[in-house]
């Protein structure tokens, strides 16, 4: 193990480490803690200049007023309407593409694979004008479906990279022996490979959920009005209205951040497995 386990260190060093941990954490999360505290601070505190002291009372009212007086609930709903179909679409498509690229040795295989990988790294701006145009022409501008279709296509690149490497790690003999038995290719995919892909599907689902939930660029490019606006772009619009009403901005920020944070905590192991695939299998 590296560094040397702290258990082997002297007692004072162990104690120092135990003390350093929470201190480092508080410093690291300082902006977050500040915002969380501000979100619970009554407006009167801010008006009185009490920015840093203990809140005079805990103002859950801030959250209630954000939900009551702003369309943030609607924005959240839109975010779900974009994120969930995208997760299903991108993960579903990449199960197929990943299988194709991992199992078959056709001629263009590596080329197709690297096109997916490279597409994943390009700047969004090179896609912006044509994708906006395409979405307008299809009558999908300002709709959640317009966002979903783009996100599905783009995330399929990343997901394919992941799925292909995952399937490559499965024992190929399983597929070989099924073929000898005369099982069709589709049946092999459906009944042999797909059940083994569960961990990869879970990991990618959490990851794509977070990526798409947090997307801001496409939410501003492909959506204009409130009715389809996801929470990231919505929060930015609200920030313009709540000039310097930091208790509201903070509460809104916490609300917008919560779904991916919950997702992360519930599915932590999958999330990290997703992020680090490739780092672990080297």
């Amino acid at each position: 193990m590296f560094p040397t386990p702290i258990q082997k260190a002297s007692a004072p060093a162990r104690l120092a480490y135990q003390i350093a941990l929470p201190i480092a954490l508080v410093i690291w999360l300082f902006p977050l803690i500040g915002v969380a505290v501000t979100s619970l601070r009554p407006a009167s505190d801010l008006a009185a200049g009490n920015y840093f002291g203990m809140p005079s009372s805990i103002a859950y009212e801030n959250y209630a007023s954000v939900f009551r007086d702003s369309p943030i609930g609607w924005y959240i709903l839109n975010s779900f309407k974009v994120t969930i179909p995208t997760v299903i679409g991108a993960v579903g498509l990449s199960c197929l593409t990943g299988f194709a690229l991992a199992v078959y040795g056709f001629r263009a295989n590596l080329w197709v694979f690297f096109a997916f990988v490279a597409g994943n790294f390009i700047p969004f701006q090179i896609l912006m004008v044509p994708v906006r145009e395409l979405t307008l022409k299809a009558g999908l501008y300002d709709t959640t479906l317009g966002l979903v279709l783009f996100h599905v296509a783009f995330q399929t690149g990343f997901c394919t990279l992941f799925m292909r490497n995952f399937i490559k790690g499965l024992p190929f003999a399983l597929i070989e022996s099924a073929r000898v038995e005369g099982v069709s290719e589709w049946q092999i995919f459906r009944h042999i490979v797909l059940p083994l892909m569960r961990p990869a599907i879970a990991a990618l689902s959490v990851l794509v959920f977070t990526f798409v939930w947090n997307d801001y660029f496409w939410a501003t490019v492909l959506v204009q009005g409130q009715h389809a606006m996801p929470v990231t772009a919505g929060l930015y619009a609200l920030n313009g209205q709540w000039v310097a009403a930091w208790h509201l901005v903070s509460a809104g920020s916490i609300i917008a951040a919560l779904p991916p944070v919950l997702m992360f905590f519930l599915m932590q192991r999958h999330f990290i497995a997703g992020l680090t695939l490739g780092a672990t299998k080297g």
Binding site: Q18, V129, V261, A279
Partner: protein, 301 residues
Amino acid sequence: MPHDPQPARFWKRNQMKIAPYAFLAPGAVMFLIYVLIPIVQSIWISFQDWDGLGPKTWVGLANYVELMDDDTFYVALKNNLLWLGLYLLAIPMGLAAALFLNQNVWGIRLYKSLFFFPFVISQVVVGLMFTWFYAPDFGLFSQLIKWLTGSEVAILADERYVTYGIIAAGLWPQTAYCMILYLTGLNNLNFEQIEAARMDNARGWRLLRHVILPQLAPATFIAMVVTVIGALRSFDLVSIMTAGGPYGSSQVLSYFMYEQALSEYGYRMGYGAAIAVVLFLIMMVFITLFIMRMIAQERNR
């Protein structure tokens, strides 16, 4: 392959030829329509004068010539380099955090997840947090600066500091990302090698440099890829925190493009596309390097 007259076997051979394309088609078609073709279209549009509605006019290289004379372009380019250089600090910082947290004490799992937190939060929220953090009068950071130096600095309103302020906000989630990559890498070390090195009296820095870091190379590679790409893609934070201001001093290519093509400054799609092509070419240099390394790895499998 010997010819086999049985129809079932015949189908099976065809199936092997058709199956890969059938599996590939749905995803590949989507990717083609929304990613690959738009790249070509953008390059095409960059040679046009177009407001997004009316007819396109072919102007040849005029957009690029104009770009070469545009002061904002050079500010954006300089800032992009600054982003790139400073963003890479996320890698050693992430490694340091990972080394700090790679212990087996009570509650460490929770600590690791909490340290990773900034990465899970949307950049819009990160941007708002840091705007608040830097706000003059009541921002915690400005208060700290005031307490330390006696004078107040409005980071985001000061042309000298604004880009550094935004990059610092970006480093927060990026460091968390690199940390998690290294934590996983540290979990997969070859313990025998480390013990052998310890027998040879390698300790601390020397052990890290000569034994640990080479083993962490795959994690470092991924950290490099995501950090370089993240730096050049930076858009959200600039948009949220300053919208490129004050006076365009925190401009980056990605935001400059958006501003030219799609904002109150006008709908100059051709000019915007030209900026996007420049950014694309810069990123392609890195993407090509990454892919070449990946191809080399594939060959070694």
